[in-house]
């Protein structure tokens, strides 16, 4: 990597990738399996997903490590493989990264509730995030993407763990749902609170991911942009899943997504991509939109 991601973002909008889990399932991952385990057992499958996104036009792809923290891997009895799984995921991505493109290490929530509401101590949370991020860095990632967070305290610990370990860009995104009180995370965090607290913690890029679809995401990005000049990232779900002819499918086809994604871009987002339910077909359309900006 020769160009710095942040420098590039000052000049142009970049395109991230789409969902990982559904792509792995299309390639035979059974629903009981741990997606991150495939980094070790079926590296070529994971690498194919990475390559497909780069081919579809992604400037940045995320590693298959969303559930790669000790507490998430423990659900599959793999808590002792954190380092191996995360490092390998990054190496696989770096191997297929075209020149001028980027690999971001994905870091998701621990799935536990911090003390005093829950039992997870700040020290333990910090050590779990540090362990995962250290391995991603060793594997050669260009940035750390902390995502799908709902509690401010947890995402702050993750950001600080990342900043303590690297000078590479750190992105921090939370998941909002628009209710009677406006956009809030399940923990009640508003976009304004997120902006204040996370910029203080040292995040280089802020934003929203997952959620209810590209429509809602456009509204959330608009609110975020009204409240900050910081770099913004948005990765929306392809709507919510619905039943169609007895099969579950996501509402927003790539074609339906197009005008909504255009709105997100017009609101002034710096990185756009997809979350649950999106695939390379969505990314191809987003590529076209980004190139037309």
């Amino acid at each position: 990597m020769t160009t710095n991601l942040l420098t590039l973002l000052e000049r142009k909008v970049l395109l991230a990738d789409g969902a990982m889990g559904t792509q792995l399932q299309n390639r035979g991952l059974s629903s009981g399996q741990c997606p991150e385990q495939l980094n070790l057992t079926q590296p070529e499958t994971v690498q194919n997903v990475y390559s497909d996104y780069f081919s579809a036009g992604s400037d940045i792809i995320e590693t298959n490590t969303f559930g790669g923290s000790e507490s998430r891997l423990a659900l599959h009895g793999m808590e002792n493989s954190v380092h191996e799984i995360n490092k390998r995921a990054a190496e696989l991505a770096v191997e297929v990264r075209p020149p001028g493109k980027f690999v971001a290490g994905s870091v998701g929530p621990t799935g536990e509730v911090l003390h005093p509401l829950g039992t997870l101590s700040e020290e333990k949370a910090n050590s779990m995030f540090s362990e995962q991020i250290t391995a991603l860095l060793e594997g050669g990632v260009d940035a750390i993407f902390i995502e799908t967070m709902m509690a401010l305290e947890e995402i702050e610990i993750a950001i600080r763990a990342a900043k303590d370990l690297t000078s590479l860009p750190v992105s921090a995104t939370m998941t909002f749902e628009i209710g009677k009180a406006g956009p809030r995370t399940a923990w009640g965090v508003s976009p304004g609170e997120m902006i204040t607290r996370l910029s203080d913690s040292g995040a280089d890029i802020l934003g929203a991911n997952c959620g209810q679809g590209f429509d809602e995401m456009a509204k959330i990005v608009e609110i975020l942009r009204d409240n900050t000049d910081m770099l913004l990232l948005a990765q929306a779900n392809a709507g919510l899943p619905v039943m169609k002819d007895g099969k579950s499918t996501y509402i927003e086809s790539p074609e339906e997504m197009e005008p909504k994604a255009q709105k997100i871009l017009e609101s002034g987002v710096n990185i756009i991509g997809g979350c649950c339910g999106t695939g390379p077909e969505h990314i191809k359309i987003l590529r076209k939109l980004v190139d037309n900006l």
Partner: protein
């Protein structure tokens, strides 16, 4: 006087003051108020408000967790008394995320709100196999079984469980929920109810309990 204590007890649950909820419960028991009445007129009134505020986005997960803790502290005191007096709890609800799915925030919220509504909860955790559900139903005889899934791929693991229950002698009613679930899907796989969100799930569970009681009577 007692009225006022009930109100204070409900408020202590709403505020999440676990010392206060425990003390007031002890105080009411000391005045020989039946445990069942303390549960219904104090604690559950408080949790009803919490459930409604959560549904209306006035409060969020942290506040619900704090209220649930106040509820639990009071229930620790109340439970032996309820059992002694031979009062049946509202019902027994068994919960679990279906096989292949490890998402449990929604399920845990439902569990908290149901406990708040006085139900006994047996939580089987995440990625629970069909056989485990069946074995545990046989062991515990719950009134209600709640299944959850967050993924479009794992939601299909609900149907075999419900089919197995329908083929069996179990009288357990089923309710399902989770991000990809809707009424059409619930009907299609033969679930007795669908919980749109955590507080809707509590209302539906209460309705199912009513159905069960009627079936026993008739």
């Amino acid at each position: 006087m007692t009225e006022q204590l009930f109100e204070q007890l409900a408020q202590s649950v709403i505020d999440g003051d676990d010392n206060e909820s425990k003390d007031l419960t002890n105080k009411l028991l000391g005045e020989n108020i039946p445990a069942k009445q303390i549960l219904n007129d104090g604690l559950m009134k408080g949790m009803d408000v919490v459930g409604r505020r959560f549904r209306d986005n006035e409060i969020f997960v942290p506040e619900v967790l704090v209220s649930a803790r106040a509820m639990k502290k009071a229930m620790d005191v109340l439970k032996p008394e309820l059992i002694n007096s031979g009062d049946k709890m509202s019902g027994v609800v068994m919960l679990g995320t279906v096989e292949g799915d490890i998402h449990d925030i929604g399920k845990n919220l439902v569990s908290i709100l149901l406990q708040g509504a006085g139900f006994d909860i047996i939580d089987l955790g995440v990625s629970v196999s069909k056989q485990t559900f069946i074995d545990k139903i046989e062991e515990h005889h719950p009134d209600i079984l709640g299944l959850t899934a967050m993924l479009t791929t794992t939601m299909h693991n609900m149907e075999p469980i419900i089919t197995e229950i329908q083929k069996s002698e179990f009288s357990v009613k089923t309710i399902i929920g989770g991000a990809p679930i809707n009424t059409a899907f619930a009907n299609e796989i033969g679930a007795d109810a669908f919980g749109k969100n955590a507080s809707d799930a509590v209302n539906k569970v209460k309705a199912l309990m009513g159905d069960l009681e009627q079936e026993t009577v008739s």
